[in-house]
Amino acid sequence: MVGLSHLFGITPFLLLVAGIFVGVIAGALPGISFVNAMALALPFTYVMNPVNAMVFLSGLYCGGVFGGSISSILINIPGSPGSLPATWDGYPMTQRGESARALGIAITCSAIGGVASALMMIFMSPPFARFALRFDQPEFFAATVLGLISVVAIAKGNMMSSMVSLFLGLVIGSIGLDPLYAIPRLTFGWHVLDNGVSFVVVLIGMFAIGEVLGWISSDSKANIRPAMQTRARLPGFKDLYKLKGTIARSTGVGCVIGAIPGAGAIIGAIITYGVEKQISSRGDEFGTGVEEGLAAPETAKNATTGTATIPLLTLGIPGSAATAIMLAALMLHGVNPGPMLFITGIDLVYTVFAAYLVANLLMIAIGMLVARGFALLMKIPPVLLFGFIVVLCLVGAFGVRNNMADVYICIGFGILGYLLSRFNVPSAPLILGVILGPLAERYFLTSMISYDNQISVFVTRPLSGSILFIAFAFLCWSLWPNIKQLLARFNGRT
């Protein structure tokens, strides 16, 4: 109640609304990303008191995590990496003329996941913080492997091409200076590649430029885009009740993954998509515009927000780029997060709790407004829209590091993305490889250094061993239908 009373003052409430607006819009624009928006917003928090600064950034964070799904669902271009799974079932719904329903499900499920995560943060901070504290490098590596394994689960009937795509992504992710010795690899003498290939550039290129090339190469250019409904239609109670299992599971998985430093929305969304594909009775239809396939990653994505903030508030450890910016904002105001914050700055803590709770509820209204604006934008003729998308994407790629090389890389990945889609090789595993590959390599090498180069450390440590066992079980579970099919074919021949 203390937190709510602070939050409902005019200034904090307006700042929260402004934060959500900025977050949803930045999240929805490919190449901008809410993390960039948070970084840009940081200087503006100088003029605010610490409570207002955190309220503003909390709104931006919650809104931004959801915002990426708007462009994923409407134009098949994820605004942020965590929104990648929303393209798999959200965009097919749009193609069927159900964009309003898809947006409604995404907004509602994101809000439910976010509220549940905020409640977890309020009531479960100490045990979650203890859980997060037990994670060391081998556990981070195991969690990343679990994320990579989920690619097998999300492969839609083309397992081998998905695996090739994943390994290609892992190779691309290892381009640049190695994390320990700072020696360039796979750069072929191109110093612009020393800093590696940014996954944001790959994401923009493969999805946006690839989509544009797909349009220009189509025979019937005028009719390729589906009819767009401009209003998001919230699902009724009956619809939500049908998704109760999906929402409950995804909230649980999302909250746990959120608490793991470094895991974040992308791993949470992908793992829940894979889990739901296996559990759901409509698992075989995933990827064709199934409600469960959209609801699961959307719920999990925002379910990571509250629990990701727990290590920041309780231990002073930021678990993601977004929470690192929040840490910077706190430190700029002379506030040191950690156990003492719950004694010396309890008002701030309660207000942050309240901000997360209210932000996820307000997000429904604001998300619908922004989605409507975005959908109206989609009504302009495709030739105009795609022309400007190319310009925006190349500027977005340039803006990542103010480097023209990223523009060329973006175009290259655009052509690759088009070719992959034309020959039915999934591009999502490649992007996951580019995102998770460098993390996996870094965690693997630092584990080796920390534990005397004993590779057995990954299985002898109880937590990392358990996660790897879950990953293995998940792999077997995902492969079981293929194995069954092979056995049936073999039995049929003999």
Binding site: G157, N158, M160, S161, M163, V164, F167, L168, L170, V171, S174, D178, L180, Y181, I183, R185, L186, F188, I209, V212, L213, I216, S217, S218, D219, K221, A222, P382, V383, L384, F386, G387, F388, V390, V391, L392, L394, V395, F398, G399, N402, M404, V407, Y408, C410, I411, G414, I415, Y418, R422, F423, N424, V425, G437, E441, F444, L445, M448, I449, N453
Partner: protein, 170 residues
Amino acid sequence: MIRFRFTGPLIAVCAGLVVLLSLNTGDTRLVIDASGFGPLSWPRVMLWGTVIVGLLWGVSRFLDRSVSSDVQVESATRHDNSGLLAGVVVVVLYGVTIIYIGFAIATFVFLVTWFVIGGMRSAWKILANSALGTGVLLYLFLKVAYLPLPRGIGIMDTVTVSIYQFLGIY
């Protein structure tokens, strides 16, 4: 269309092997340390992974006697390859020329060309949309986002600055 059947696996295996071979550069800095894990260990494992999975993909294609799904997709969808080629050339040229002729002029020329190959026929509409769009984007990126967009080389830098001055953003 059967010729597409082994193209994917073949590209994966060949690309993996070529890059693997290029890693053996003889650079002494790349030797593995006492732990057995050097700077090249991770990419090497991933490249071997690509080759092995590519081979398995090829084997599965060989064992699957039915026409594979990608062949079906490739053969079922009609593509305007000349349109695609024009689109790729225009986008690549746009990316390459930004640095030489500056963002402002490159964007205007790109938009005009794109609208023409995209099927827009009214010259007035093409010019108006390109000029207005470029102006709005310039204002947004330079005045609001402060992005240091390329202004071009030599005389093009002067021309770009004149455009910025005309638009009141310099």
